[in-house]
């Protein structure tokens, strides 16, 4: 019908030679019915109104597309500016970075000094503790509280000796 295909050959792929020829004839006769009974054609007014409607739709599409790309460009510009801001303004400049490093160094030094002072204090305390230990080892009472504790321990030992059932409660 439309010259795009050979119906006889196409039908022969599905039918035997005689059946295919018969079917081809019937299809052509059917097409002839359409040809001899043309559908009404559209009026010039209708054609014009459809063309106008299509043109209006085209205009609308173009406006939408322009608006879309305009918005997309605005969003891209905002993203770009934000990126630039983060890369430049939010990130410290080299001089600011130098100041930061210097101040960090000063902080570190003062902390080290503080730690040194704490260490020397602890060192002095440890030295005192060592001295005290030496004195204890030499049986030299160096404090009254130590003596009172020794006496309590003696009393306890005496009690244990006098009452052997003490441990039973």
């Amino acid at each position: 019908m439309n010259g795009k295909e050979n119906i006889d050959q196409l039908l022969r792929r599905f039918m035997t030679g005689t059946d295919a020829a018969q079917a081809a004839r019937e299809i052509r006769a059917g097409d002839e019915v359409f040809r001899t009974h043309p559908a009404p054609e559209i009026s010039a007014d209708l054609l014009h109104s459809i063309q106008l409607r299509a043109a209006a739709q085209l205009k609308r599409e173009q406006v939408h597309r322009r608006a879309f790309w305009g918005s997309a460009a605005a969003v891209a510009a905002v993203a770009l500016l934000t990126g630039i801001y983060w890369l430049t303004a939010a990130k410290p400049s080299p001089s600011a970075r130098r100041t930061y490093v210097a101040s960090t160094g000063v902080d570190l030094l003062s902390k080290l000094k503080l730690h040194d002072a704490m260490l020397s204090t602890m060192d002095a305390e440890l030295t005192d503790l060592a001295k005290s230990m030496n004195e204890v080892q030499k049986d030299v009472p160096y404090h009254e509280d130590c003596l009172s504790i020794d006496l309590l321990e003696l009393e306890e030992l005496e009690l244990l000796a006098s009452n052997t059932d003490f441990w039973k409660g």
Partner: protein, 190 residues
């Protein structure tokens, strides 16, 4: 049976095809004159397709107008292949959509039958009623009527038609053959 290449002509684009390609390219670029040409070129065929399916000039005009609005909206999505196949697939979907909305379709056909009985021999009042093919078409089932109209007015090949309908070519061939036979039988009876 040896396979035969029945579509050898498709490989060589004709002048008409090249002209159509250029027209579509212009449409894609948003040239309003190209759309005017496209409307002029296809409006009668598309109108006939809708008219044969609906049997109503007013509804066919509406569908035709809507079809071209959709074409303007979707033309950028057409990439390759048969333009007719692409366009008539949209037309077919449009018709099916309208059918879904048209819950009164059956009643309208009944009204038309009543009109036919009342207006014997007055073609000026309702010309579509006196188109024998149209009457026969209305006696066919919807699917058969659609496939016959789609094939004739879109001028698609059986291969393209089968692709558009997403069915094997043998099935399409058989449906068209049986449909045309039935149509002729109905017309003989009228």
């Amino acid at each position: 049976m040896q396979p035969v290449n029945v579509y050898s002509q498709e490989k060589q684009p004709t002048d008409e095809q090249l002209e159509l390609d250029r027209l579509i390219l212009r449409c894609k670029k948003g040239d309003p004159q190209a759309f005017d040409e496209l409307v002029k070129r296809y409006s009668n065929r598309c109108y006939a397709y809708f008219y044969r399916l609906t049997g109503r000039p007013d509804q066919s005009e509406e569908l035709l107008s809507e079809l071209f609005v959709r074409l303007v909206r979707k033309i950028r999505s057409y990439v390759d292949g048969s333009f007719e196949k692409w366009m008539f697939t949209i037309a077919s979907n449009l018709f099916k959509d309208s059918l879904r909305k048209q819950y009164r379709q059956k009643r309208l056909l009944e009204e038309k039958a009543e009109l036919l009985a009342q207006n014997e021999g007055s073609p000026r009042q309702c010309p579509e009623l006196f188109d024998k093919l149209q009457l026969a078409m209305e006696k066919l089932d919807r699917e058969t009527a659609e496939i016959l109209n789609l094939r004739y007015y879109s001028q698609m090949s059986f291969k393209e038609l089968a692709e558009a309908r997403k069915e094997p070519i043998g099935t399409t061939l058989s449906k068209v053959h049986r449909g045309l036979k039935k149509l002729r039988m109905i017309m003989d009876e009228l």
